[in-house]
């Protein structure tokens, strides 16, 4: 098992002919992801790499191929519409990679997707990977290896760093999920923790948070109350000056809420392991699954 994606994932790629979309479509195909369709309005009827059929709309792609998952690489100004199009076409899991989506657009997307019963991951996220079975998004496949550690993170490259260190230390992963760093995203830490707790292939969870907001504190409360599996956490931004934006729209400290210190304290109170450095994940996780 795994969470959210596995060998049964059938993927449609929205924006498959774009610069980023085509590059990552190839990577996903090489990894072995079951890519069944692409969508680019006006290019319906063509094939990507002489293989994957392209459709004009997501609805058409779903009807013809039965795709159950979508990944979005369309430019930021059109990404909100793409997410809603996917949800309306009956896609159950929508993964939005696009960075720079206006937050007010997301205030419309979030309830729209929810009302249609779909799960949205992102936007502004690296996507997810179930090593050896399916990759949806941009996480480099070769840094991952199958195993029993669940990984969830708000960051992109920091996730790669931690996964790389886990893999080098022989700690494989069940599923790695990047939930994205924007103020409004479809899936939060708790959603992933619920799924990891229920997944019989996951033995422990590595969770990487950042300064800003209260998602990590709420996740810590959830861990304390509802999780039997061990969770190890890390917070990036200990040295960030207060009140300054650090690139991720979410990384804004308002008042005393959302500081690194507050989040680390919440982890400790919940009895979680706290990694002070990315490399600390290795020993902390190993001790907990031994």
């Amino acid at each position: 098992m795994s969470i959210f994606i596995d060998s049964g994932t059938t993927l449609v790629i929205q924006g498959i002919t774009g610069r980023d979309g085509s590059f990552h479509a190839k990577q996903m195909l090489e990894y072995g992801t079951c890519v069944v369709a692409g969508v680019t309005p006006g290019k319906g009827g063509q094939r990507f790499e002489n293989k994957v059929p392209i459709f004009d709309t997501v609805a058409r792609a779903v009807k013809e191929t039965g795709a159950n998952t979508s990944v979005i690489y369309v430019p930021p100004m059109f990404a909100a519409d793409a997410m809603m199009e996917a949800a309306d076409a009956g896609i159950q899991l929508i993964v939005a990679i696009t960075e720079g989506v206006p937050v007010l657009d997301m205030t419309k997307v979030y309830p729209f997707v929810r009302e249609r019963g779909a799960r949205l991951i992102g936007p502004n996220c690296p996507g997810l990977i179930t090593p050896g079975r399916s990759k949806v998004g941009i996480i480099p496949g070769r840094i991952c290896t199958p195993g029993n550690i669940g990984v969830v993170s708000r960051s992109g490259t920091l996730t790669y760093e931690v996964v790389y260190q886990l893999t080098r230390a022989g700690l494989g992963q069940s599923t790695c999920v990047g939930i994205g760093g924007d103020p409004i995203n479809g899936t939060n830490f708790i959603d992933c923790l619920v799924a990891f707790e229920a997944d019989r292939d996951t033995a422990a969870v590595a969770m990487m948070g950042e300064i800003g907001g209260t998602d990590e504190q709420e996740a810590a409360t959830f861990v304390k109350k509802h999780m039997k599996k061990p969770v190890v956490g890390f917070i990036a931004g200990q040295t960030a000056p207060p009140g300054r934006r650090m690139g991720h729209a979410g990384a804004i400290i308002s008042g005393s809420s959302g500081t690194a210190g507050e989040k680390v304290a919440a982890f400790e109170q919940a009895g979680m392991g706290v990694a002070r450095r990315p490399k600390d994940f290795v020993d902390l996780l190993r001790a907990r699954i031994a």
Binding site: L104, T159, I184, Q238, T239, H248, K279
Partner: protein, 382 residues
Amino acid sequence: MNIHEFQAKDILRRVGVPVPPGRVAKTPDEAAAIARDFGGTVVVKAQVHAGGRGKAGGVKLAKTPEEAKSIAAKILGMQIKGLTVYQVLVTPAADIASEAYVGIIVDRAAKRPVFMVSRAGGIDIEEVAASTPEKILKLPVDTRYGLLPFEATQLGFFLFDDVKRVRSAGKIMQQLYTAFMQSGCSLAEINPLVTTPAGEIVALDAKMVIDDNELERHPELEALRDPTAEAPSEVHARSANLTFIKLEGNVGCCVNGAGLAMATMDLVKYYGGEPANFLDIGGSSNPEKVVSALRIITSDPNVKAILFNIFGGITRTDDVANGIVTATKQNPLKVPIVIRLTGTNEEIAVRILKENGFSTMTDMDEAVQRAVELAKGGGKAA
């Protein structure tokens, strides 16, 4: 993107919010001339992207044009929270019967814009929220429907008892909401929203923050950006499509991705050093970006060592290597550099760097420790 009070007021005026007249002065003489035109007592207000202007002495009453001139002379050039005041807003002083607070902010918990209104305006709203939360009404808006008339009325009744004023306030709520959505704001605030002794309701001060992600859709808003209100290095970085924030330490950091950049800075501190900056070269890098990044880092005289930490995913590490080589050919480095890179095209990157006399590392912790040591003047360049 922050904008100034006078710019926010212009936006509000255009959607019909009652805003007192006012003009901007860049010199004391201009301030005096504006005061003379308005006649009577005026308020001279520092225009900077910082709160607490009043407490810092940046907002003062002037009874005569001469007084406006001397006050403007004091405020212009003043530092407020590290930002220099280059312009002042001169506006007629208003008679105030009561002050209310009205704000909209995108709330990540509600996943919607939330209206916040209170009769306790004019003072620190955080203080009111913390000690007397019942004095604030919070109302989340479903942006698919917009602010509905009954919601606007509800907000109005929280601020006023008299139904005429409730309706005027409700109209202002609708107008503020329109401005908020049209300008792609993440925050819009009228504080205070005053009632004059004559019963008029006026927006005496306004603040707006525009979501940077909206600027592509609203190019006209980009014109409101005031580069003098930001640190020059940050302005420079933005034009090169980099995210840069200057800090006080001496280890210059160049990283791809915000999370990894923050974790790298934290690690510098963990090993006893101090980061000189936050610098994220972003996802799809090209060599030119790296050249700009190095130029920005080396222009900081505090920097004693440079640390590259690149985890190639979308970012190709050979692009980064080429950027380092180009930049250092143009401007030879005066401080040691530590390069850690791994991921996409790593073998090519290592070869390029080696051919040009640079060595590389693959372990993040070792690289950070090395850079910290070098910044302290120990060891020789890796």
